[in-house]
Amino acid sequence: MSTKNISDSTKRLLIEDDGRSDERDVRFATAPYQADFPYERGEEAQVTRREFCNFLGLTSAALFLGSSGFAAKAVIDSRAETTFTPLRINGAETLPLNSALNFKYPGAKDSAILIRTEAGAFRAYSQQCTHLACPVYYEHQQKRLECPCHEGAFDAATGNVLYGPPPRPLDVIELEMRNGELWAVGRKAV
């Protein structure tokens, strides 16, 4: 809609207001934004077909760049050699049977989950679901790791997929006992 029409309606509203309320000041202050937020429905900006076509073209470019960027980053990351620094898992020794503990490994942003089975053995996995990277949690009654996002589940003993959309098992965190303390020493994709 043209600027003229917008300014016309603003003027009309100012005349109707007649200075009897402080509404006038509000309208004056918001006048520069009337093109985006007009009073009348008819003054709302209409998207032309040409603009919509251009928008779809830009969306197409963005989707292409998104796909290629995501793929490139994944390939580069997969080729980069990762060194794992051993990390002591605090609180592992006092962890009750059939329960879980979260920790960060190998990086400060990589969430992992440590499980102590009913037999007392320790298992640790990356907490990222292999479907769409939601965090999995330990369901102690069923003794499995479940993903709340798309109802996938993993075996707590092996990390293998039990059901749901995940395409591969969870990454396994390698553990070592050193002088009665539990250490994470590496991560392995199955």
Binding site: L63, S67, S78
Partner: protein, 99 residues
């Protein structure tokens, strides 16, 4: 008595039938662009799935497919246009006719 105006090929007004055809072409362009965008969205989702599943072998075909979609989009926006008295469907200036 009203004088009847003679138009040459460049300024001839478009008939109702021509306008209807032009609108149909615009509509078809929009529909094709939307469909390509949807396909590219699906390709992006498949790329994310492949990365998380570590199926790296399918990444290149997915990226190539997305590139082809983008090129088709560009060609639709840039070249496939409704015909007019002045331009052909591919955007070239129509040569004047002697008729």
């Amino acid at each position: 008595m009203a004088e009847r105006r003679e138009f040459n090929d460049y300024e001839r007004p478009r008939s109702r039938r021509s306008r209807t055809g032009s609108a149909a072409v615009w509509q078809a362009r929009l529909i094709m662009l939307v469909m390509i965008n949807v396909a590219q969205l699906w390709i992006l989702a498949a790329t994310v799935d492949a990365v998380l599943a570590r199926h790296y072998s399918v990444l290149l075909p997915l990226v190539i497919s997305s590139a082809i979609c983008f090129l088709i989009t560009l060609s639709i926006i840039r070249w496939w246009r409704p015909t007019s008295g002045k331009h052909t469907s591919t955007g070239y200036v129509r040569p004047p006719t002697d008729e």
